[in-house]
Amino acid sequence: MMTGKRGAQITAGNREASDRLVKIAEAIHGQLCDDNIPYLEVSSRTKNNIVLDEDHKVWKYGSDVVTRSAKDLGGATNILRNLYTIDFIREMIKSGKSSTLREMYYISEGWEKAKFPTQDESNKLAEDLEIITRNMREDFKLRPEEDGARVIGDLTIAERNRKGQVKRFNCKDDVGESGYGIPYNVEEEKLQFKSVKAKMIIAIETGGMFDRLVENGFDETHKAILVHLKGQPARSTRRFIKRLHSHSNIPLVIFTDGDPWSYRIFASVAFGAIKTAHISEYLATPQAQYLGITPSDIVNYELPNDTLSDQDVNALKSELTDPRFASDQWRAEIKLQLKLKKKSEQQALAKYGLDFVTDTYLPQKLKEMRIIRG
């Protein structure tokens, strides 16, 4: 279940995380000794509690905290789960093992009163611990499932493989049609960028559009590195993009469907996600620009569309009060969409033929954004 060999060494980060986790248990024990009802404080994780971090230009948690108190059953159970999780992580670090978030969820089956009802709950608790300790879950020896987001483009990478050997390869010439799979750990010690021969990075929401651009050879004709976001991108994908962007310093554009959920994908890449705002400076790339599909595109290109559902409308309205979308441009587009009551997918561009997106749409948009010259 747990893999012992892979990360057998205990890093400074691991040791620090372990010490900080034990401090949480100590605090709770102390509260009990002082005849106080045990409690834990965690930053409130709502859109009302994210503020712009001026240094990094990303959105981070503000000062609102949520107190989980053993006064009520939910709070008491949460505190107990924290203790069990702390104990589990501490033991893992001690024995030099690691586990996936899913494995931890299954291990909690044996925790009786502290067992998690769903994996969402255990994932969220791991994030809580990150926020409290200011360590990353990698320090806890917890990792997500491989999510298989892909990259294609003229980019040379050096990656340390399972056997500890460093392998160097090019993401255009040395990979198959499906591209290079982004691993869950994309930190310096695991992955280094050797050379980038491209003028831009295009991050794409859907696999269908990613494959279309690959088939049409857009990476070569326009010297682009294509990254498949695979829906709401995993942490490692966002971290990969962030590192690639700061290494190469070439423009980064985000290409998604034209609906409120896709705008949130853009926001999580550019500004940081509400769920992971505690590590936004590691994950978010504030220089990212949104390419489309915009509500204006739906009108200008007369794209095939669907009517907004009630949930879509609510999501758009919620974005109007989300500080990450507070710019005039975003507010105008969102309001336009609420007026249109329409949404379109990326692949709706196929209305004008399979080459339209690479021959016409992207070049036009990139010119408007002054990323390529006309």
Partner: protein, 620 residues
């Protein structure tokens, strides 16, 4: 040839007998379709039996059987009672003549008010299958039992006896009717024979009904009280309740020779002085013979009746079911957690006495998402049709149920939630909307009374729900202090390698409540019935508690109150409790003698001089 057309018409105009009329308009009596006809037939026969038994002071035992015939549309219906039986020469008339019965001119609360019921079933059977009704009746042990085949001559509304024999019958007395009718039998339907019988059993807890359905399955609805309801009294009409036509008939058939005696003897609440005043106003001589009044005079008299004030009619003529008995009936047939029933004082509308009773049951196995089921009754008879057109339903719809803890769209209409509502109207003349007596008309006085009764029930439901919410909170807190907190202590100690901290202080801080928990134990020793009530008071706060506790109890049946420091005043036991130290508890209690198991099933506890959160009791 210029014969006036009216003369041509006159040739085809002839008197239509009442039977003929009903034969052609059977929906008026409720026989609209085969399903309804089946139900109405059962209902009329059972109502008839119940009325007969009660009039004779016999606890009714009714047997109902529906069986299939070779023809899938036809069923045989048999209803047998243990009533007083019918004397031989009346049998044919009772079953074979419409509008025949002893009740038609009496003003009294009874199930069938117009004597139209059972003969209509005979008529329906005759019209749909051509078969006569078979009536068996015996009036006592030493009397012969007669069995007759009866039909109605629809031309002259006269009974026809087809056969007549003396038979052996192994019942001491009673009446049995068998008819074959075109009908349809539904198993699971709101308006089914089963539902009707079950509902009847709920509001008639003194009745034993056994029902054998077409599949041969026997359903028993047992008697829960061995006492007959008090018989309803006959009263004379009240001047406000009389209709013009009836007044005309009363004058015409009066045995009084003078108007003064007519008014004082044939009406209630008209004194000799009142009579003189009426006649003076109407300019009618006091000595005038009632038969001699002309139409104008009758109209004037009628108008004066309505203008003048009279004392309300007596209301002791009504026979309510009683809130305790309704509760017994409900609890017997429906599994629920909570029931509250109300019997209002009698009231009067337009000179007619009426009385409203209502009940709500809540929780248990009742489905939470559906609109609540409504059980409507008039004079102990379930009303199964035209729910939407009935005053009882309208009164329910007018109430905003949300403050009482039921869901209701827009605060109007039939509420939804795990509840069932029962409404009963007892009256000497329930104002039905039609002859088939399926719904009560919107009379303001009735709407208001039903509303008041239901709101009282609603308040009780709400306090029951509140209690439940609070108890849930307590049980959550128990699970924190019993299961979670010790684990938190153990796990945190284990991680940092220190000894377990003591938890008493934290436990009282988490609970911070005084819990009053009451329990009821019922047992019997020979003839004696004991209901033992215990009340446990637990102090989960950080301060000692000293306060007073009160419990409402039935008067005169209490013994063994403990502990000592208490006093009993009227229907209230009062205790001096405490001081109870933090984390300690005390027990109080008493025993009730003579009540049945379901009679006392909810302990009403109140407190005073107690601060902080209290669960399980209300402040006095």
């Amino acid at each position: 040839m210029s014969q006036p057309y009216a003369e041509t018409m006159a040739k085809s105009q002839k008197e239509i007998s009442i039977s003929d009329f009903f034969a052609k308009n059977r929906q008026i009596l409720g026989f609209d379709n085969p399903s309804k006809a089946m139900l109405v037939s059962v209902k009329e026969a059972v109502d008839n039996s119940l009325d007969a038994c009660e009039e004779a002071g016999i606890l009714p035992t009714i047997f109902v059987r529906i069986s299939r015939t070779d023809n899938k549309d036809r069923f045989r219906l048999m209803v047998r009672d243990n009533g007083p039986g019918i004397v031989k020469k009346q049998i044919a008339s009772v079953f074979g003549r419409l509008l025949y019965g002893s009740r038609f001119y009496a003003i009294r609360q009874s199930r069938g008010q117009q004597g139209i019921g059972i003969s209509a079933v005979v008529l329906y059977s005759q019209l749909t299958t051509g078969k006569p009704a078979i009536v068996t009746s015996k009036i006592g042990e030493d009397h012969p039992c007669y069995r007759m085949e009866v039909q109605i001559n629809t031309k002259n509304n006269r009974p026809q006896m087809i056969s007549n024999e003396v038979v052996l019958w192994d019942h001491p007395h009673g009446t049995q009717i068998e008819v074959e009718i075109v009908g349809r039998y539904h198993k699971e339907k709101r308006q089914s024979v089963y539902e009707y019988i079950k509902s009847t059993a709920i509001v008639n807890p003194h009745v034993e009904i056994i029902f054998e359905d077409p599949d041969g399955v026997v359903h028993s609805f047992h008697r829960v009280v061995d006492k007959l309801p008090l018989p309803a009294e006959e009263i004379r009409p009240h001047p406000h309740g009389i209709e013009l036509g009836v007044l005309k008939n009363m004058l015409a058939y009066s045995e009084s020779r003078k108007m003064t005696s007519f008014l004082t003897t044939e009406f209630c609440r008209i004194s000799p002085r009142g009579a003189r005043e009426i006649l003076e106003k109407a300019s009618i001589s006091e000595k005038k013979n009632p038969k001699r009044l002309n139409l104008d005079e009758v109209q004037v008299l009628y108008n004066i009746f309505n203008e003048m004030k009279f004392m309300s009619p007596p209301t002791d003529c009504l026979s309510p079911i009683g809130d305790l008995l309704i509760r017994k009936g409900l609890k017997k047939e429906i599994d629920s957690k909570f029931a509250h029933t109300v019997t209002r004082d009698p009231r009067v509308y337009r000179g007619t006495p009426f009385q409203v009773e209502a009940g709500i049951i809540y929780g248990g196995e009742l489905p939470a998402g559906d609109t609540v089921k409504i059980l409507r009754f008039a004079n102990r008879v379930p009303l199964l049709y035209q729910q939407g057109g009935c005053a009882m339903t309208h009164a329910i719809e007018r109430i905003n149920w949300r403050p009482y803890g039921l869901e209701q769209r827009g605060g109007k209409g039939i509420p939804s939630g795990p509840a069932m509502i029962l409404v009963h109207i007892a009256s000497t003349n329930a104002p039905f909307t039609s002859e088939s007596k399926e719904a009560v008309a919107d009379v303001d006085e009735i709407l208001d009374e039903v509303g008041r009764a239901l709101m009282e029930c609603g308040r009780k439901v709400k306090s029951h729900i509140n209690k439940k919410v609070k108890l849930k909170k307590v049980s959550e807190k128990y699970s924190i202090i019993k299961d979670i907190l010790p684990e938190i202590a153990r796990k945190s100690s284990e991680i940092i390698g220190k000894p377990h901290p003591p938890l008493d202080g934290v436990i009282t801080k988490i609970m911070n409540v005084t819990v009053i928990d009451s329990g009821i134990m019922y047992h019997e020793e020979g003839e004696e019935k004991f209901t033992e009530v215990t009340i446990k008071v637990q102090n989960y706060t950080q301060k000692a508690k000293k306060f007073r506790l009160f419990v409402k109890v039935p008067n005169g049946l209490i013994q063994g109150i403990f502990p000592e420091r208490n006093r009993m005043k009227r229907e209230i036991i009062e205790w001096e409790v405490g001081p109870i130290e933090p984390a300690r508890s005390v027990r109080l209690g008493f025993t009730i003698l003579g009540l049945d198991r379901t009679d006392y099933d909810d302990v009403d506890v109140y407190y005073s001089h107690l601060t902080g959160e209290v669960i399980g009791a209300d402040p006095l």
